[in-house]
Amino acid sequence: MSKFYGKKTRVSSEMALQITSMADIFTIILVFLLKSFAMSPVNISPPSGMMIPEAQAGALNKEALKLEITQNGVQVESKPVLVLKNFRFAPGEILGNLSSQSLNTALEKEHKRQELISKSNLDVKVDSKILIIADKKVPYVTVKSVLASAALNGFTDFKLVVVQKE
């Protein structure tokens, strides 16, 4: 027993934390995160509370105009365009051709902007693609009006954004 308790081993008061290995780990994590950032061609960050439906779908490979439909409103390129009441349009908002008045104005503006860019830069062409990011609870009546507005303003290639199923 005296062997264990009799002698007191002297511990050095200077203790250096070995942080070289920690720096290595951090470097690997940083490289991994930077790589995953660089790999996604389109940056989609759904608004908080939005539940995007899950499905087996193709990969997203090109940037396009973004249109989001949430419980409280519709946003074009993250800018609020109109207010929805529990996923539905206000009664006076919908026109005879099922399109939405405010959405038509916003999408027409985007289309004109694309046309202006394509006139000054021949490499850029007017794109008919539109990314629809919608909550899974949106009724088809609302989706229908949004699609009608998009189609009316030249955005006929709908890309419905989903979360990839495992």
């Binding site: 942080i19 070289t20 920690m22 720096a23 951090f26 470097t27 994590i29 940083l30 995160l33 930077l34 995953s36 950032f37 996604s40 389109v42 940056n43 989609i44 960050s45 759904p46 995007i52 439906p53 499905a55 087996q56 779908a57 193709g58 990969a59 997203l60 439909i69 051709n97 099922l98 399109s99 990314l131 919608a134 909550d135 899974k136 609870k137 949106v138 009724p139 088809y140 009546v141 989706v143 229908k144 009006s145 699609l147 009608a148 998009a150 189609a151 006929t156 290639d157 709908f158 890309k159 419905l160 954004v161 989903v162 979360v163 990839q164």
Partner: protein
């Protein structure tokens, strides 16, 4: 990191030094935290669809002989409508509280076998059908037909 120039004479001041990693670790911690906060770990996918007004298909040089329309109704019931050279209505009621996926596959395979030129389907739904249900049907349809058009407007 210890650096020793050697020499061995030992008369001058020691050239051993430790690289101070603490500020580097600080920078890394801030960067990693920022990237983790801003990173999205959702794997995003795309379902392609075109615009197809109900009863019409997209502009083509040669229109398909038969226009296939699928209408999703209430209570998981759906209807396949054929127009053009053939005219028919096939009703598929719900099976076990869900869409009749097997019936849909079977009917579309039959239509495809009979009318191979018809390569698109127009999908529409009743007003109250949730977007999730439309996506579920589209997920199934994309395995059966190359082009899906969303209609009803």
């Amino acid at each position: 990191m210890n650096v020793n120039n050697g020499g061995g004479h030992g008369s001058g001041p020691s050239q051993d030094f430790d690289l101070n990693l603490a500020p580097i670790i600080d920078c890394f911690t801030v960067l990693i935290t920022f990237m983790l906060v801003s990173a999205s770990f959702l794997s995003i996918g795309i379902l392609d669809a075109g615009a197809g007004a109900a009863g019409q298909t997209t502009m083509k040089d040669t229109p398909p002989p038969v226009v296939v329309q699928i209408e999703l109704g209430e209570q998981y019931g759906m209807e396949i409508k054929l127009s053009g050279r053939a005219s028919d209505k096939i009703k598929l009621p719900a099976t076990q509280g869900d869409w009749d996926y097997a019936g849909l596959t079977r009917e579309l395979m039959q239509i495809k076998a009979k009318w191979p030129q018809s390569d698109s389907v127009i999908l529409s739904a009743a007003n109250d059908i949730e977007y999730l249900q439309v996506i579920k049907i589209m997920e199934k349809l994309r395995k059966l037909t190359p082009s899906i058009l969303l209609g009803g407007f």
